[in-house]
């Protein structure tokens, strides 16, 4: 376990004996925001030593799909509380979805979210821009202005609502090519899901809850991959939840379509059987599916058909869950359980190793978001965004003890493997001994710098 020795104030940290990506133990010397050295038996005078025998070192996790709720629903979550949760969960960057109030559909709002993230200092907050004005699905938002803003937006999404108009989706896909953007689609055919409450199938038939059929997701994905191919653009599919969607994405990739796909931790584990309790903590969009879908999603993540794990962290105030199922809000928290759930469902099942874990939780999502200083190898000269995990730890989920304001964890009461021990964000320890340390402090002039996304081509 990590033991913190005296902090000599040099800002240097020597991580001793960590299994980098699960490999043989090595040391990492972190200094001045970068990994200064990687090797055996490193020494550095004055550096704070972190004994990391038994721990796994990973590139800081990058969430492609986070709801931080601010501005507008600070009763559900704030950038401060959401990014504390992110840091504790192993993340060094999160993409903040656009469905805030006001919607992040202008340069002003995305710059506000960027500034809130930098003020908090726990992780890199990368604002996602809305595709359409007010998420209304009628008119393109000023995508270029958001791309050129200090927030350097590259991911655009109406997440929560599907860009269902095929012409509008085509135009959005075409337009974001001008600045190497990507459209992240919430694939949900709206007419097939009017009033939908849960996966349509055997369980919904018994429970009398309006069904959300798999075809409503699959038909939109099929259309979108064909559109992306037609206009030669980049498509990201949010929260893939069905075995049929996996097949369509696999087919599209085999045809060379530039599509990436995401799966949430909860869709890797939980099924619609949980709805039998009528407990709205299990209500989420897209809904929990069947065990056959869960198995297909795991296989797809392991074979690369699905590129990334995105939490779809969606905190809600308790009154939005302590009610009838049909009245309840959709969504689950995820930032503080994602690592453990992926370890449980993918690593402990033998489907993946820690190097694969780093790919799906860090390298690939950073690439989708065009983040140049995230998802990097843990090598000398690279930015020091590092997650240290104790894979042997076991802990029981207690939502009341989480940093997120949301208490809506579907994993409450479950024992999970894997615990984040320490986090380095830009070389600064944001988490030590499994607890929040101090945030990274941007210098005033740095806080105004543009984001680190690559410039347009």
């Amino acid at each position: 376990m990590a033991s913190q020795q005296q902090d000599a104030g040099t800002g240097a940290y020597l991580i001793r004996g960590a299994a980098i990506l699960g490999g043989a133990p090595e040391d990492l010397l972190i200094r001045d925001g970068i990994i200064a050295e990687r090797g055996q038996d490193l020494s550095a005078d004055g550096a704070t030593v972190i004994e990391a025998a038994g721990l796994v070192a990973l590139p800081g996790m990058v969430d492609i799909h986070t709801h931080l709720r601010e501005p507008g629903r600070e009763d559900a979550e704030t950038v401060e509380t959401g990014t504390r949760a992110a840091a504790l969960g192993g993340y060094t960057a999160v993409h903040a979805m656009a469905n805030s109030t006001p919607v992040a559909d202008t340069a002003g709002v995305v710059e506000q979210v960027l500034t809130l993230g930098r003020t908090a200092g726990w992780v890199d907050v990368r604002p996602v821009g809305a595709v359409t004005v007010g998420l209304a699905g009628e008119q393109l938002a000023e995508l270029g202005a958001m791309a050129d803003s200090r927030a350097r937006v590259r991911v655009f999404s109406d997440d929560g609502i599907c860009v269902h108009d095929p012409v509008l989706m085509r135009r959005a896909l075409e337009y974001v090519k001008a600045f190497d953007g990507v459209v992240a689609q919430h694939a949900q055919e709206p007419r097939l899901t009017a009033g939908a409450q849960m996966n349509e199938g055997e369980v919904s038939a018994v429970l009398g809850l309006t069904g959300w059929p798999a075809v409503a997701e699959e038909s939109i994905i099929a259309r979108d991959v064909l559109l992306a191919q037609h206009v030669g653009s980049r498509l990201h599919v949010c929260h893939v939840s069905t075995a049929g969607s996996v097949e369509i994405i696999r087919w599209a990739k085999s045809r060379g379509v530039n599509v990436t796909a995401e799966v949430t931790p909860h869709h890797l584990w939980l099924t619609d059987e949980l709805a039998r309790s009528y407990d709205p903590v299990y209500k989420v969009n897209p809904p929990l599916r069947t065990d056959a879908d869960v198995q297909a999603l795991r296989a797809a993540l392991a074979d690369g058909t699905i590129d990334v794990v995105g939490t779809d962290h969606a905190p809600h105030p308790s009154e939005h869950k302590e009610c009838e199922w049909a009245q309840a809000a959709m969504g689950m928290t995820g930032l503080e359980t994602a690592l453990s759930v992926v370890q449980h469902t993918m690593i402990e099942t033998g489907l993946m190793g820690w190097a694969d874990f780093a790919r799906v939780t860090s390298t690939a999502p950073a690439a989708i978001g065009r983040l140049t200083d995230q998802g990097r190898p843990l090598d000398a000269g690279e930015p020091a965004n590092v997650t240290l995990v104790d894979p042997a730890a076991r802990w029981t989920v207690d939502p009341s003890k989480m940093a997120t304001m949301g208490r809506n964890s579907p994993f409450a009461g479950r024992e999970l493997p894997g615990k984040v021990v320490a986090m380095f964000f830009k070389g600064h320890p944001t988490v030590l001994d499994g607890k929040l340390n101090t945030p990274y402090r941007w210098l005033p002039e740095q806080a105004q710098l543009p984001g680190t996304a690559a410039a347009g081509h």
């Binding site: 349509e200 199938g201 919904s204 038939a205 309790s277 009528y278 009610c323």
Partner: protein, 342 residues
């Protein structure tokens, strides 16, 4: 039994116990003084989030015949319509000392939420939740069928189940809590159930239910039916393209005069015609069928009070023991596919 939430998880022994108790309660209803002192001093709240005069007065009559105090709480014109949550409503009723809550709610699962949370400690009776279940309706239907079935066999109702009885249920199964509760309960009681509906009004997944499914009402009748239950069909379903017109629905799936005559032609002289009410005469059932001697519509209403008396009595009288499973039946609750997948 602490609550009566669904028939899906109702054991054979408990189902038969409710039916047998209802027989005793029915005897009370035939006396000059239709009242028992059993639940004196107990408070039953009828908590109705959805209009249903028929079900509410049936529960009210049942509770009053058992001498319980009855409070009717309608969501309309109350604090509920001002945005008070189910949780607050339940806690309010709990604080007022409700012993039983009879809940009708438009949301599937609302009674389960009351029973599963610590919002209220009272016994919960599901009086119909969304498109999920309506267990007392199914019990009163089964009670009506059992009396008919026993009379034909020349044996007493008490203790009997419905082994061998052929029941067809026709109509909007997709949106019907009555159909769901009936399918589970009739399965448990040993009846053979056939659902008859347009494919658009059957839920995806119905093939896993413990019953047969048909799109053809005439073929179902021709194979032989002992009880024909018609479900209410709402005309506005037509606007959502569940079927083309009400006339086409009525021709294909309504119990019209031709089908009433067909029962005679086919020689099914003992087949009864059931409907949970309220009826759409001329849509799912013709007036001649509804008013024929085969119709049990009014008997169902009458039996509803007895069933609800039995449910209140069994939940509130303190005898919550599970009786021994009877051995005179070939059916078993564990033989049902969806139960096993719990």
């Amino acid at each position: 039994m602490k609550h009566l939430l669904s028939t899906e998880d109702l054991s054979l022994s408990n189902a038969v116990r409710i039916l047998d108790t209802a027989e005793e309660m029915a005897a009370v209803g035939e006396r000059e003084v239709k009242k028992l002192p059993t639940l004196r001093g107990r408070t039953v709240v009828n908590l109705f989030f959805e209009d249903s005069t028929r079900t509410r007065i049936s529960f009210e009559a049942a509770a009053k015949r058992l001498s319980a105090d009855v409070i009717n709480f309608s969501a309309k014109g109350s604090s509920v319509s001002k945005g008070e949550s189910l949780k607050d409503t339940a806690q309010t009723l709990s604080a007022m000392g409700a012993d039983a809550v009879v809940i009708r709610h438009w949301a599937s699962g609302a009674p389960h939420r009351l029973a599963a949370t610590d919002w209220i400690d009272a016994a919960v009776i599901n009086a119909g939740d969304g498109t999920h279940e309506h267990p007392t309706q199914a019990l009163l239907d089964a009670f009506t069928m059992r009396r008919h079935w026993s009379k034909l066999a020349g044996t007493p109702s008490a203790g009997a189940d419905l082994t061998g009885m052929r029941v067809a249920i026709a109509g909007d199964v997709l949106h019907s809590r009555v159909a769901r509760s009936n399918v589970w309960l009739l399965r448990t009681l040993g009846a053979e159930v056939t659902l008859v509906a347009p494919p658009t009004l059957l839920p995806i997944g119905v093939e896993k239910w413990p019953c047969s499914v048909s799109y053809d009402l005439d073929a179902t009748l021709a194979r032989g039916v002992d009880a024909m239950m018609m479900l209410r069909v709402q005309g506005e379903r037509m606007n959502a393209s569940f079927f083309p017109t009400t006339r086409e629905y009525s021709r294909r799936w309504g119990f019209d005069d031709n089908r009433l005559r067909a029962l005679d032609t086919l020689g099914f002289k003992d087949t009864i015609i059931m409907h949970p009410g309220p009826m759409n005469r001329g849509l799912e059932i013709s007036s001649a069928a509804a008013d024929s001697p085969r119709s049990t519509v009014l008997a169902q209403v009458r039996n509803g009070v007895s069933i609800r008396m039995a449910a209140l009595y069994l939940l509130l009288s303190g005898d919550t023991r599970e009786p021994a499973v009877r051995t005179n039946s070939t059916s078993s609750p564990s033989a049902h596919a969806t139960k096993e997948s719990h």
